[in-house]
Symmetry: C2
Subunit: 278 residues, 2 copies
Amino acid sequence: MSLISKLIVKPGSKIRLADVDPDFHGPYKSEKDAQKHLDQQSASISDLQKKLYAERKHSLLIVLQGIDAAGKDGTCWHVLRSMNPQGTNVHGFKQPTPEESSHDFLWRVHPHVPADGNVAIFNRSHYEDVLVQRVHKMAPGKVIEKRYDLINAFESTVHSNNTTILKFFLYISPEEQLRRFEERLDDPMRQWKISEGDYSERALWDDYIKAYEAMLNKCSTDHAPWYVIPANHKWFRNLAVGSIVEKTLKDMKMQLPKPTVDLKEIRRKYHQAKKEKL
Amino acid sequence: MSLISKLIVKPGSKIRLADVDPDFHGPYKSEKDAQKHLDQQSASISDLQKKLYAERKHSLLIVLQGIDAAGKDGTCWHVLRSMNPQGTNVHGFKQPTPEESSHDFLWRVHPHVPADGNVAIFNRSHYEDVLVQRVHKMAPGKVIEKRYDLINAFESTVHSNNTTILKFFLYISPEEQLRRFEERLDDPMRQWKISEGDYSERALWDDYIKAYEAMLNKCSTDHAPWYVIPANHKWFRNLAVGSIVEKTLKDMKMQLPKPTVDLKEIRRKYHQAKKEKL
């Protein structure tokens, strides 16, 4: 079974996160063991994104969700480091501003979907409205329940513009989260980020798992599937996400636009210009 | 004399591009010779951008101009490869859309200036309106002439929000441009980009030089200086731009925000949680 078919949440199926091992790292023993594959992948993604940008027929939207410290920022870096920054954009969705809150929950998201030829990453997304809002009961149960359908319809609209949507749930264990929090405590560059909430939210771990499972089970669709990425090992998380991005771009079977000019004629002109030092 | 003071267009001075050597590569013999400096620079810029993003008091706007094939895209890659993509954005300004043309020339630019803590790069910019528009007489001389002042006032407004503005004119020779055009001819990934205009615009080289000189002489201000970057050698172009970006970020004397929580107390809680396997 390929990595991709192992990690996808099959539309219509019911996933239980307890059945997923966040420590999973495929056939690789270590980062060193996977390095060659990671390097090949970067080179391949780099070429594919150039074609995507040149052809301007498809676009790619990547949605990242995961509990605090699951590695959303690191995943953005990894995916984008091989791409031309001009054709890419990351948008982080934090607590809504008053203006955002005074609109429907998809209003602030829609402007950031990628244009033809582009790649956009949502670092958190419209799914916050069925995650933190559900866990903290910030909206009535009925309202939350309706949002899953609204999200599916919204993603279908976006998909209708040749936008391929990939959604990655980065899954770490509570022990790994604690280990990462402790690392932050010792890193002067990151101490400012630490909040009381980091720790107190851990008490709601099981509620979050339930909310994640509802999101995965209700919103993994043919046009916008969810993937559960075992993310305790950062290098495996990168490799898994990269593999899915690479395969997805390849499947678009993109063609570079044909040259619009007579290359021979241009070559002749250049040759002449050099001779005459123009 | 430092590299920076050599490359800056001193506000109020008159620069002649004929006096600048696009082949200049400072004290370095080759890319290999500069590699260590380039690596140090990347590591330093990476740290500084993390501070910029954390502090959220300053922002940085980088404006790139240069003739076709001068290396604007490559410069974007180089500057951004060491930065967290979440805090950065590149915006390319192409031929204005009908909606853009139906507004003043700064209307399409303003929304893309960086927010506190962010870095934005303009790949081409509002300066197109005093470059291509001047060379091709797409607006009356009087209108163009007034734009220099309007640009200075606009950049002063942007600067008033703690946005540091760096403007880089990437300067290559006509021979180097021709060499790069020829490279494109032989690269299947880039042949689609070649247009008749690439070549025909070369006939207007002297007019472009005059327009660039006017831009450099009228719009290099204390709050938004222009730098002329000798760009025949890509590695030196990257090193020069990187040096100025690094120095500029350092001069902001950024401070990481103080932790908002009692780190000792958090550490104690984590320790307890581990013991009790919470």
